[in-house]
Symmetry: C2
Amino acid sequence: MHEPGTRLGRDRRTLDRRSGTVTLIRTQGVTAPLGFRAAGIAAGIKVSGKPDLALVFNEGPEYAAAGVFTRNKVKAAPVLWSQQVLTGGRLRAVILNSGGANACTGPGGFQDAHATAEELAKALSNWGTETGAGEIAVCSTGLIGDRLPMDKLLPGVTAIVHEMAGGLSGGAEAAQAIMTTDTVSKQAAVHNNGWNVGGMAKGAGMLAPSLATMLVVLTTDLVATAEQLDLALRNATRLTFDRLDVDGSCSTNDTVLLMASGASELTASQDELNAAVLAVCDDLAAQLMADAEGVTKQVTITVTGAVNEDEALTAARAVARDSLVKCAFFGSDPNWGRVLAAMGIAPITLEQDRVSVSFNGSPVCERGMGAPGAREVDLSGPEIHVVADLGLGDGTASVRTTDLSYAYVEENSAYSS
Amino acid sequence: MHEPGTRLGRDRRTLDRRSGTVTLIRTQGVTAPLGFRAAGIAAGIKVSGKPDLALVFNEGPEYAAAGVFTRNKVKAAPVLWSQQVLTGGRLRAVILNSGGANACTGPGGFQDAHATAEELAKALSNWGTETGAGEIAVCSTGLIGDRLPMDKLLPGVTAIVHEMAGGLSGGAEAAQAIMTTDTVSKQAAVHNNGWNVGGMAKGAGMLAPSLATMLVVLTTDLVATAEQLDLALRNATRLTFDRLDVDGSCSTNDTVLLMASGASELTASQDELNAAVLAVCDDLAAQLMADAEGVTKQVTITVTGAVNEDEALTAARAVARDSLVKCAFFGSDPNWGRVLAAMGIAPITLEQDRVSVSFNGSPVCERGMGAPGAREVDLSGPEIHVVADLGLGDGTASVRTTDLSYAYVEENSAYSS
């Protein structure tokens, strides 16, 4: 067996950084906005005894919410449950477990998701907040195909309600408890003239599908309708998580939720809300890429000059998913021919003698032919930016991805049982 | 660095085997049919000094031919040349080089392909067979983006004409000279009531794209029209090479050619021709899979019960291309949840509670849920057969693929320069 490489996530700075006009804070997450409590505990679902149950609770006074779910036709029980709950546009709480996906578990698995929501509703009501199961979303992540250990999960649901903390520590604990093969927890928050958006994330697409999925919970203390939240969430996920493509896979459990407490008593324009939610999602997506399984290179594929944005995105995704391109980048090999070959099989308009490609700003292919010095471009650093200009129109899109390393194979070939 | 695993190709038997009703002979190739000569030499195109130039020459009396080429929109110069030549439905010879793909080389690269055909036409004419460049196909395989060393290739073209051997040795030498990262040469032939079909192959899709492509040359001594050959070739490639999917890639240079000499003076029905060409292609495809880069498992994905054959093929291909399924198989891990997740993102009709899956005949998923003992199924052998029944209709299709191993990453991450 081989030593898995150190993921970039272990090295990345957790310092705050500016993204555009907003200041992002990576030490704060779902409890950065007013009106939210959170907690993370070890309920015994994971055999390792690590934290495996998280709760995000909206204290109100408002409860508008929106959700985006996996497009996989094979959907986990908690996804089916939460989609149904979200049709009401309202959430009091989200309960999330790691240690089991509750996917491909049949009607029994759906009953488990329902029972989890009922148990939390009862515990919250006993705690003094009258809550119905229909106001509670459930998220799960872990191995597909096994039933959850409900004898551990249900007592954990009662216990976690008593652990809920206001302030920042609760959010940090929740972000820890949803980790599976993540090496670092992922939080981000923005503060914006008296109102805030915060979030936490784990995994990334099907990065570690036997143990993982992408779960994201976002919160804001704005006064906002479910429709405003839905618009902001769809805009942000389209430009961030949907364009983070590590292996082209899409989990049975992927879920992104946004809840508004209204606790700031402020409203914002749709554009302001969109910008803040986008900023948090964009930073969480960058953190997911940096901590992707087996990653040794953070790769951004930008396609310009496509006939439209959809074709630019299709081309960028084709390159991002190409195993041969990804192996070349692992080897720091400026093998631009593979980029052309990958785009050439994408269902897009392409004229090979109009295509130009650069790696980290150095031209490697001009009008379909090798540029001078193309084979000597240095890709030994941890970041690779590919820009492919199709020379046809003004369609542009970027996709984030990673290389394909020994460590990726290592982490994804271990026995599931 | 890791030791690349031994490919299955190194171990496989080269013995003849029966496939259906025809006897396949793996020690014979393009010169098994009457009326063909072939040769393979080292022209100095490869720095290693290994054989790198092959010729297959049709002595006639007939010259009907058909070709199937890559669907990649980025096409190598020799593909553009040969497609143009094949519009005439007639071929006297095919000249093939390894050591350079002549792809993404612009108008100069096309001139090189043209000059190669002209040089061969001149040499064949001098040798006593009046030939035009428009009757000669050109195939190349190697790194994308560099011009061919014409100062070595052109003298080689003249030299190889004088090396042409009848009998079986010429075909074997040609099969050697087209190898790139192949570890064994690949030939197959069938004998059928006085007429024969033979073939040679190298690579497989974009298995080793910095050095490779799939090139296949097939020959027959039947009397057949270009239209009959075209029908037989399209039928065979659709069911064999098109369903050999190692990494979803399709090279800039992929070419499959079929030439008929008429030397047997026999004709056959379209069905008989189809069956013989299919048998040779099927065996060559099996040899390509066994020798794929980094392969430690030969995997067949069969989807049944789809609404039609197209959807069955789409689903099988989605599983065959899924990096996570392939990593699991490398680890002999019966992780059936990944098979469901991969089919769930394919653009097909799927109802998760109707899906059943078996690995090597053992049920692992029944009606969307884990089967008893699913986690204990033994996949430690070199062959894995996945059968996924969608439970919807009678559409069925199979795709051959491989696992995703350290050795695949190794072979594809080495520096190209």
